[in-house]
Amino acid sequence: MIKKIKENFKIWRKLKDIKNRKEHVWTTLKKYHKESGNNYGTYEKEKYIEICFSIDNNNKVVKKYIHHIDEQNDSLKSIVYISEGFDSDKAKDILILASHFNSLMNKGHVIVNTDKETISMEYRIPLLIPYLYELEIHNQCHDHYNHSRDIVWAFNRLLIFDEDPIFIMVDLMKKIKERVK
């Protein structure tokens, strides 16, 4: 009971100081990554952290992740670059696969930029949430990474193995079903 009162009091105090949420979340985000022990790059001016993770069991496919305090949109964003320059001939299939994901995902979305020929997957939450509940930073980074593994796997099958988006989605569903069993 006392613990809960203390927690509520802490949140109430934070709400009084809501103007400082950007700085507070940024400091907490840096602290979280420092404590994780991984190698990462910090960009103070732009307020983002860049980190690379392997997404396969062989540690051969490495993707760049960005955790960013988006001041304009007042949100904490997690972005993974799936492709940094895809083949324009595959644009149609890429858009089909991205739309499949976007209609199925309840968190995050796949963004295809046909001008720059890039594909990314983004999670975004209002800054207020990690400001009030610091654990949300861990949850976002963790969930985003886990989610990205399936999406990268699917896009690799399209970009590297030239497979049809429909078959990729069917196989992905099977893969997820087996994992849940």
Binding site: K63, G85, I160
Partner: protein, 147 residues
């Protein structure tokens, strides 16, 4: 001279090289699995002296290389040894470049070939077949879990 016979250290006595052998010897950029082990000539065993002299992961020793050239290499011909080592460095460089740009950053093949042509001061017709071959090898040996 030691007459001792041992199980082939490359294929581990199978007489053929499989994907596991390629991964164990870290030759994913150089070999694909095949029905005949060039190290033991499919005999499953080799002389201990030979195994002592030639490393099991010697990439050049494969079934599709001319026998005369292999003999020159085994006899220690400096010219061919230098050329083999240079080629090994070249393939490693290209394969690592592809792993970083084609696989991890997912940049399209044509852009990569153009960048490599500039970087290596080479022509498209020279680079393209090597890049295509390496991509196939990477797909088979390293990205099998993505299939």
């Amino acid at each position: 001279m030691n007459k001792k016979i041992i199980d082939c250290p490359r294929c581990l006595g199978k007489g053929r090289v499989n994907k596991e052998d390629i991964k164990r010897l870290r030759r994913e950029y150089f070999w694909i699995e095949g029905p005949h082990c060039a190290y033991c000539d499919g005999k499953k065993q080799v002389n201990f002296d030979f195994a002592n002299k030639v490393n099991a992961d010697e990439w050049f020793l494969t079934s599709d290389v001319d026998q005369q050239e292999i003999q020159r290499f085994l006899n220690g011909d400096q010219e061919i040894i230098n050329s083999v080592r240079q080629h090994e460095d070249y393939i490693n460089y290209l394969a690592n470049y592809l792993m970083e740009n084609y696989v991890s950053r997912a940049i399209n093949k044509d852009t990569i070939i153009e960048r490599l042509c500039v970087e290596l001061q080479s022509t498209k017709s020279e680079i393209k077949p090597i890049v295509n071959g390496l991509i196939e090898q990477i797909k088979i040996n390293l990205l099998d879990s993505h299939k």
